[in-house]
Subunit: 380 residues, 2 copies
């Protein structure tokens, strides 16, 4: 075969303003952290950084869970890590589906040999706790409840505290997807009694995509230790991963951690710590309200009812007669602005405007409003 | 729970010279690429970059395989991706074990419900083709052969061409680990007839850790399409991943790719293309010889016999009476130099000196030699 190299040169990305469903705008501090010199993944300096990362993540998740760390892969692997460790063949799992990511949870249950009992809600609606109660009554053998806190495909926020409470009443563990919620709205693992949670680096934390913070409580670890079947994934087996992420000095080789992206995640969490959790939640809320009011003047409507709206992910209906793809292409080419398309059942019907992390600031809201007004005006 | 943030500030890594088993030294060009502005993972500019990445990887692997792309996770996930897609429950797989990573392959086979037939060789020896022939004769039902081309735990290079040939004669697919070989010694997928291969970004490619280039040939794709059982991993199911990595314009959402690390991998492959594959192989060989000659003057011996030595991973015996951990700690503290400890059966008995990618240059060899001479002198 030809050994001569392809004529490909360095990549120079365009500068974008990212207001889609993630990745969100990454601040310069985080980008610069990505470029710091790589050290070995077993270097004592790196182990110290990992300990800090775990402390920062526990705080962000509002948990004391010892087993809190970033999975070395995207959010969908964080999801899979929760399911392959906690679901055994034959287990019945109640899964709430009100968008794409609940559906993916159900698919994970199936691939673990479990049986998902689907609690369905309309796309755009939050999970209905009454349906979950009924599902537990109809399937008393269920020992796990899985749901998505913040549905990235629809912009709906579900009542995690109530859902976790129902699970406890039925002696079931709770697995919560908080990929899009962490940092943008309250995520209170211990207060709510969540047993396992996974998130992503590229939403309200404003780090680059590719890492998935997870946290497991004592009840989850007990279920893991009591497994009869080995975990089907070697990489995701928490029994093995535990030794790698355990305290400095005791670390044993498992895989090679993504050193530089972890620098970036560390820096993004330091920025969140500087701002404070409550201040970050308030900022997301304020920027959402500013965007909502601007969109209202253009007659653009939200998919989700007001009390269940995620401030950080605004799903809005595409006005009648407007060409979805043409508008998004014009925003990208004329303003360097990315907003998100609809997914699954909402494809072609909605746009998803992200106001996440570093992207949740006044200049982004102004740009988005002005750009949409201009581009929609041309369509009219 | 207390909402007040932990008092943790930005992380400032020390500057190291990385001559362990990986990550290897990352050049400034690649680090700078990591810090380029993040774009959306479905942005047309990003899709164009992904196409270039696939072209560059095909060239690096010396293959025409359409299905060649970087898995969005470390090398161990690349490994798992090969096994979960190609091994079905009940399959017999011949696995060559001559170090840690062959053992991990066998573990992967078990977790897929397959039965591994272990062909064992001494740690430090290459895989013995005669044993593989005998294993196929004893287990004619075996339809897959798995082996590690370059054993990172021992520094042994196996004869991939011969092993793949034996597999073909028995109508079996070949899965090859080339995590440490790609870019450092010839890896010729098509010439050798390898059906599935996985590598890592952080060895001879000198990118940051966290990505795993993989390639699948037609026979592997046919086995995948003919599966009776669904792939046990959602994230790694190639049937789904295919749509995400398919040509620009046809891409469908699967997960969110690690945008910035992919910039880094792209840049590292552009650098490899500028140098040329054969020049890179020759440079690794020359730097290995320089190191070997220096170590010989200190009476330090290699684990692997000369004709099976990996130039990029030099496993050498720790001289009698020398304190392993103390020497490595002194190299790190006094010279900022990282060399690798022994793994598994070789722990405490060997050092692993990496001469990989950007780390394979004269100043690194000189530093390593001088530092070792100084630190060992103090021990004597």
């Amino acid at each position: 075969m030809d050994r001569s190299a392809p004529q490909i040169t360095s990549f120079h990305p365009p500068r974008r303003v990212l207001m889609g469903p993630g990745p969100s705008d990454v601040p310069a501090r985080v980008l610069q952290a990505m470029a710091l010199p790589t050290v070995g993944h077993l270097d004592p300096a790196f182990s110290g950084m990992m300990e800090e990362l775990k402390t920062l993540l526990r705080w962000a998740f509002q948990t004391k869970n010892e087993l809190t760390f970033p999975v070395s892969a995207p959010g969908s692997v964080g999801m899979e890590t929760c399911f392959v460790n906690l679901v055994e063949p034959g287990d019945t799992v109640i899964v709430c589906v009100n968008g794409v990511f609940g559906g993916r949870q159900a698919e994970n249950v199936r691939r673990c040999g479990g049986t998902p009992v689907i609690v369905e809600d309309e796309w755009g609606a939050p999970v209905d706790p009454d349906k979950v109660r009924k599902a537990f009554q109809a399937h008393p053998q269920a020992r796990i409840l899985a749901f998505v806190h913040a549905e990235t495909s629809t912009g709906a926020l579900s009542d995690a505290a109530t859902l976790a409470q129902i699970a406890r009443e039925h002696d079931a563990l709770t697995i919560m997807d908080c990929v899009t919620s962490l940092g943008g709205v309250p995520v209170l693992l211990d207060e709510w009694g969540i047993d396992a949670a996974y998130s992503g680096s590229q939403k309200c934390l404003s780090s680059t995509p590719g890492l998935s913070p997870v946290s497991f409580g004592e009840r989850a670890v007990a279920k893991l230790k009591a497994r009869k079947h080995p975990v089907q994934s070697w990489f995701q087996d928490l029994n093995l991963v535990l030794g790698y992420w355990s305290g400095a000095g005791k670390r044993t080789y498992h895989h090679t951690a993504p050193v530089n992206p972890l620098y970036g995640l560390h820096e993004s969490l330091v920025m969140l710590a500087e701002e404070g959790l409550e201040a970050s939640w308030a900022r997301h809320r304020a920027m959402h309200e500013m965007l909502r009011d601007s969109l209202a003047t253009m007659g653009i409507e939200f998919v989700v009812r007001p009390d269940a709206r995620l401030p950080q992910l605004n799903a809005v209906r595409i006005p009648a007669g407007v060409d979805d793809a043409a508008v998004r292409a014009a925003l990208l080419s004329d303003y360097g602005l990315e907003i998100g398309a609809g997914l699954g059942a909402l494809a072609g019907k909605v746009w998803r405007i992200g106001v996440m992390g570093y992207g949740a600031r006044v200049e982004n809201i102004r740009l988005c409003t002005a750009a949409l007004r201009d581009v929609l005006g041309r369509q009219g």
